[in-house]
Amino acid sequence: MFTNVKRSFRRRDQEVLALDDVSFEVGEKEFVAIVGPSGCGKTTLLRMAAGLDFPTSGSVRVGDREVSGPGPDRAVVFQQFALFPWKTVEENIAFGLRCRGIDADARSRIVASYVELMGLQGYERAYPQQLSGGMQQRVAIARSYALDPDVLLMDEPFGALDAQTRVVMQEELIKLCRVNPRTALFITHSVEEAVYLADRVVVLTRRPGRIREILDIASVRRREGWDTYERIEEVMDLESFVHLRTRIWRLLRERQEDAAPAGIAVKSA
């Protein structure tokens, strides 16, 4: 999906390299999480996959096509929900369908099914600001899922939620992905979240973002039977989970210490 992607920005007549030579692939129906320190360019990677940003060099492909802009095969869930405040829950979920010119009957059928799936019954006519953060993000996920995209792109979708709501949403996302598997790219700065949700975790270094390591979680998950546990805290207690989490933390920390002087130099210049 990503091959030799580089992205630099001009800031006050200075070229700042944000991403350097990033290559990885997300398999069909695979859930890949990207973790990295803030400013490592992980959101930029996701925006490139969405077609909202473009690499300075290298290429981003979805399927066998180069990404040239937003497309119906990819949907994005944003950290700040990005629901339209002037639209009701129903209208928000229906938005993408409406843009695609799907007729009203089919639209309301699809919307109703996602309202039910995401537990939003009774809130169909509410405006987003009348809902809690967790409910708003459910609406945003429903809006993306309703388009039936091949690829789901999620940019720290639970980052703005409180800890308890976050855990509930993580459990629900796991269930949703089991019922309705999609190719997913998931950005987060939470190591636990990445290990809990993903099949593979891509660890990025501090700016300029490079791939530190890619860890295979799916094989551990299968071997240790994580999916047999209902609750996130049970999985998080397992030795295999703790081991992976510690490993990622170490990877992140090592790199941070190496790269710190460079980061400071960029800022002061």
């Binding site: 969405a50 339209f84 938005f95 843009c99």
Partner: protein, 269 residues
């Protein structure tokens, strides 16, 4: 928030009643003071400020027969209101779309902004002499001057409205398949609606201010004309009565805008 209908309605009605009582408490003593100072103690001479009785007399005169200064009150009020509404409509009809365009397109902004910056510092009233030369003392001149006065707030506020739209919402619309037209109708216009209404309120005020000034300078009809004729006749009762009607009409139209705003922006509150 969670039960907007049940809890909010009685609270709002008692709040309105209380506010009405406060308004009475502020106005009644003023009226009494006015009566006492002009008609009981004669502290204020009737040549400088009319007594309640003078105003009542003026009210009686202008509402009967040929009225005053060329027409009855109803005719004068209608004349002024008509011009305000027409000037306001022309100003908003041009200012708001131009503001939206300038907010959306950098190119339009670069093209229009210099002309706007040049015209803006000219006080609207400075256009009156030119307007009289072009359109005479008729309606056209007033509509023209109101247009200049009310155009600026309509434009600036709709421009600001577009600029303040969260870019994530635009990105969300794009990744869910919105076309350029859908971006305008589903995101741009509703997103800038609150600011557009702020602009409308300011435009409405500017329209009344400008109209009365224009009618003072050159008109054969209207509330401003009543004011200037009464001033030449040294008729304080009529001056005050005409002023009161300018106030009433301005307040009514502002109230009508507020009602319209609540219908146009149901998601707020």
């Amino acid at each position: 928030m969670h039960d907007p209908k049940g809890a909010a309605a009685p609270a709002a009605s008692t709040g309105r009643l209380r506010r009405f009582r406060f308004a009475l408490a502020a106005i009644v003593p003023l009226l009494v003071l006015w009566y006492v100072l002009t008609s009981v103690t004669h502290t204020i001479s009737p040549g400088r400020f009319p007594s309640p009785n003078d105003v009542l007399q003026a009210a009686r005169q202008i509402s009967r027969g040929n009225g005053y200064a060329g027409g009855t009150l109803a005719a004068q009020v209608w004349q002024s209101s008509k011009l305000v509404l027409m000037g306001f409509a022309v100003a908003v009809g041009t200012g708001a779309p131009l503001g939206l365009l300038m907010g959306w397109s950098r190119r339009a902004e670069a093209l229009l902004n210099p002309a706007f910056l040049l015209v803006r510092p000219i006080p609207p009233l400075a256009w009156i002499p030119l307007a009289i030369l072009w359109f005479g003392l008729g309606d056209g001149a007033k509509i023209f001057v109101i247009w200049f006065a009310a155009f600026v707030p309509a434009l600036i506020n709709s421009y600001t409205g577009v600029r303040n739209i969260d870019p994530t919402l635009v990105a969300a619309a794009r990744v869910h398949g919105a076309s350029r037209l859908q971006l305008v109708t589903h995101v741009l216009i509703p997103g800038s609606m609150p600011m557009i209404f702020t602009g409308l309120r300011l435009s409405m005020q500017a329209s009344w201010t400008t109209l009365v000034a224009a009618e003072l300078v050159g008109a054969i009809f209207g509330l401003g004309h009543v004011l200037i004729v009464a001033s030449l006749d040294i008729y304080p009762g009529m001056i005050l009565y005409a002023m009161v009607w300018v106030g009433i009409m301005g307040a009514l139209m502002t109230k009508a805008l507020a009602l319209l705003e609540r219908r146009a922006i149901p998601w707020r509150g």
